[in-house]
Point group: C3
Chain length 147, copies 3
C-alpha cells in the first residue's frame, strides 16, 4: 500500500485514533495526534457562527481532553470522512456522533453532540497529524436515559 | 491510486457528497450526482414493501431535495457502504441515520430515519454517478428533543 | 487492487457482512463468516469487566443469531474500524450502534446498544474470517419510541 492509498488510510486512522483516545481517556495519546503549533477551534453554535473557543498549541488542548472525565462513558462514533489530498497536506470533513453518559440528580443522562470536524492535516516525518481542527457542533440533544 | 481502489474511493465519495449536499441544502450540487435519466425510488414501509415514491430523471428530484428546507438542520450520518464493482457499473448498499431537527407547536423535535440506500452506480466520462437510488426506510423515530 | 489494500477492503467487508446478515436474519450466512473453531466472547458490562458469555465453535453461535428474531427490526449501524494487519492475521476494533425495535405491552420500544468489537481475523483459502470476536457493550439505552 503506497502513495495516495496509504495516505488516505493513515488520515482516516488519525481521525479514528482521536475518537479512541477520547473514549479511553488517553489524553497524552490524544495530544500526540496534533502538531506542536496546532490550532483548535470550536463552533458551539453551528456552521457559520462565531468561534466559542480557540486554542493554540497542543499543550493548550489538555483542558479539552480533561473535560471528558466529567462523563462516565463517552462514545465518539465516526461516520463519513471526506479527504482532499495535496501532497503532504490535506483537508477533510468528518462526521461524528459524540455520546456522553453521566449522572445528574441521581438520574442517568445521555448527551449526544452531532459534530463535524473540519480538519487540516500535515505529514511530518512520515506521520499524518492534525495541523488544525475546526469543530462544528450542529446540534446537541440531552435526555434522561434508561439502560 | 488507480483501478479498483480509485473507483471504490470515488463511489464512497459520491455517497458522502449526497449527504453533504443534503445537509448544506445544495440542491443543485446534489442533482449533479445523478445521471440525467436517473431512477429514484422510495420505500417508506421498509424492505420488500411497495414503493411509495418513484421519480424519473434528475430534474424530478428537486421536490425531494427542496423538502429538506422544512427542517432547521439535518445530519445525514453515513455508516457502512458495501460496493460491488463490475467495470464501469457498480452496485452498493449504504446505511444512513438521517437526523431532522425542526420545531412544531413551539417544541423542538428530532426525527431520525434509519435508511438503507440500494444504489446502482455508473462511470460516465471518468465520474461516478447514481444511475439509480432505491431508498429503504427501515424505521423512523420522532421525539421531543432538548439541547 | 492487491496486497494490503485488498486485505483491508476484505476485512471491512467482513465486518459489514456480519451487520447485514444480522439485520436480514441470515443466520446461516452469518455463521460462514467465522472460522470453525471461532471464539465469541461478550462483555455486557463494558470494558475490563468479566465476560458474560463465551462461546466456542461457530455452531455455538446459532442461539446468539436466533435471538435477533425476538426483534421486529434491527439496524447494526457500523462506524469506524481500525485494522492492524500482520500477514494472514489481523486484529481490529469496530464501533457499532445496534438498534433493536420491538413491541412490549403494546408500546413500541427501541433499544440501542453501543458496541465495540475487538476482533481477530484470519485469512483462510483467500477469504478473511473471524477467528475471534470480543464484543464489548459500552452502554445500552431503552426508550419508548414513536415513528
Amino acid at each position: 500500500m503506497t502513495g495516495e492509498t496509504a495516505d488516505r488510510v493513515a488520515i482516516r486512522e488519525l481521525v479514528d485514533a482521536y475518537a479512541r483516545c477520547a473514549d479511553r481517556r488517553d489524553a497524552d495519546g490524544q495530544k500526540t495526534l496534533f502538531t506542536q503549533d496546532t490550532h483548535f477551534v470550536v463552533y458551539m453554535d453551528g456552521d457559520g457562527s462565531e468561534p466559542t473557543q480557540e486554542l493554540d498549541g497542543r499543550e493548550a488542548l489538555s483542558p479539552v481532553f480533561d473535560n471528558l472525565n466529567t462523563y462516565e462513558t463517552t462514545t465518539h462514533f465516526n461516520g463519513q470522512s471526506t479527504i482532499a489530498l495535496e501532497g503532504v497536506r490535506a483537508t477533510g470533513e468528518s462526521y461524528c456522533l459524540a455520546h456522553h453518559l453521566y449522572t445528574a440528580g441521581g438520574e442517568r443522562k445521555l448527551m449526544v453532540a452531532s459534530l463535524r470536524y473540519h480538519d487540516t492535516f500535515v505529514k511530518l516525518d512520515g506521520a499524518w497529524l492534525f495541523a488544525e481542527r475546526r469543530l462544528v457542533v450542529d446540534w446537541t440533544e440531552t435526555r434522561a436515559s434508561l439502560p
